[in-house]
Symmetry: C2
């Protein structure tokens, strides 16, 4: 028996998120079928976490146990033949049995794209949130500093999921601009339900002048969801990288 780790990429537009569901097409559902077909027996796929309906992944890590004898470097080709165009396996490797895509994850980086222009762009509208009003990026950067470090992010979470604690640590939150595209990149040890999308929605509200950047720390400390901005739409969000500690 081997523990096989996969690095996959997907366009989440046409999927109801990662997690397998009975009456909806999900990434985990498609992956389970493809891997089970490859292995010749029902195989369970362990994912690094849930992603919402419409959210994308540049690099999503999952793993499965199997006794297949295909060399790992050939697994991506074998899987890609069984996958639709919008899900691609980029690499596969054998891992120690202790490795678990979700439980072993030490940190994740998410990217959120905001397209700031009078008109949408046909080439990125599936991959960014279109904001017409002029965004003050300096105020967004100023406000972003409040999120750094360890905080109780309960005011930046949607209800509906139970977690042991709502305390999370943000290691970095960078905002960069490339012409009309504003890219938020956030790395943390974990994220609550919708947390990145609420941070993105709140920073856009700061950029639009609806929230004062100097109030951001107080809003975060208030733990009051109604004081943060809206939940940004899913299509601008990408899981960029999952980090595991070297053991």
């Amino acid at each position: 028996m081997k523990n096989i780790k996969l690095d996959i990429q997907y366009d989440g537009t046409d999927y109801h998120g990662w997690q397998i569901q009975k009456n909806a097409v999900t990434i985990q559902g498609i992956m389970t079928k493809a891997v089970s077909d490859l292995c010749g027996s029902d195989t369970q796929i362990i994912g690094c976490g849930r992603t919402d309906s419409g959210v994308h992944a540049e690099s999503y890590i999952c793993n499965f146990l199997s006794d297949i004898s295909i060399p790992p470097e050939k697994i991506p080709f074998a899987l890609n033949h069984r996958l639709p165009d919008d899900i691609i396996c980029k690499s596969a490797e054998y891992m120690p049995f202790i490795f678990h895509s979700k439980n072993s994850a030490a940190a994740k980086t998410y990217v959120y794209n905001v397209y700031n222009s009078s008109f949408p762009n046909v080439f990125n509208q599936k991959y960014s949130w279109h904001i017409k009003g002029n965004l003050n990026i300096n105020n967004m950067i100023l406000a972003s500093k409040s999120f750094l470090g360890e905080h109780d992010f309960i005011g930046f979470a949607s209800s509906g999921f139970s977690v042991k604690t709502t305390i999370r640590t943000i290691y970095s939150l960078n905002i960069s601009q490339n012409d009309k595209m504003i890219v938020l990149s956030v790395t943390g040890n974990g994220f609550l339900y919708n947390m990145v999308r609420i941070i993105a929605g709140t920073l856009v509200f700061v950029g639009l002048g609806k929230i004062n950047p100097h109030d951001m720390t107080e809003i975060l400390n208030s733990k009051d969801r109604t004081r943060a901005g809206i939940t940004a739409p899913p299509n601008g969000l990408f899981l960029k990288e999952v980090f595991y500690e070297k053991k």
Copy 2:
């Protein structure tokens, strides 16, 4: 009566090119409907040239004559309400009557994207040509120099369109690399049918070692279509900019 110039952007994936056709959905067909609806009468749209089925445009210029009284800055909003998501009007302006999108065009820039990687990328597969084999970019740059200047490009054209002359001038042909994406950018005073796609296909053949870069000038001078590379697929091609002389 006014002569109104439009700058539009489109994702050509789902269209049978620019030119209006009876039994196919085309950009010109969609634009004609939208503009006619806006003007309240049948209106003919003059385009800056044909683009093939599946080819995209960052900036495509077209114009039409109308006596509508909407201020030009409001035309894009009014048109975008009447256009599908994959066609966007970015700007409109009044022009002298002598202006003609095609006949007044002095030069055009096309971009061709080649994605050079073992696996395709879900986010750019509609907008690039995926090449698995390792491309020698230095040889591609070396070969690209042969195209500069005035040449008879009949060996780099598909048959099927009649033109007065097959002589064209290439002002610049730049090849740049950004991680796995290789971008060919070519500016010329005009292009024959499929010319940019054949240049792209030929330069990729050079990159793969199928054509010697030192043979490129001789291949061009041979005027023999069979000595050039294949016609690269349409989805990697973008009309980037159309240039008009200031009068």
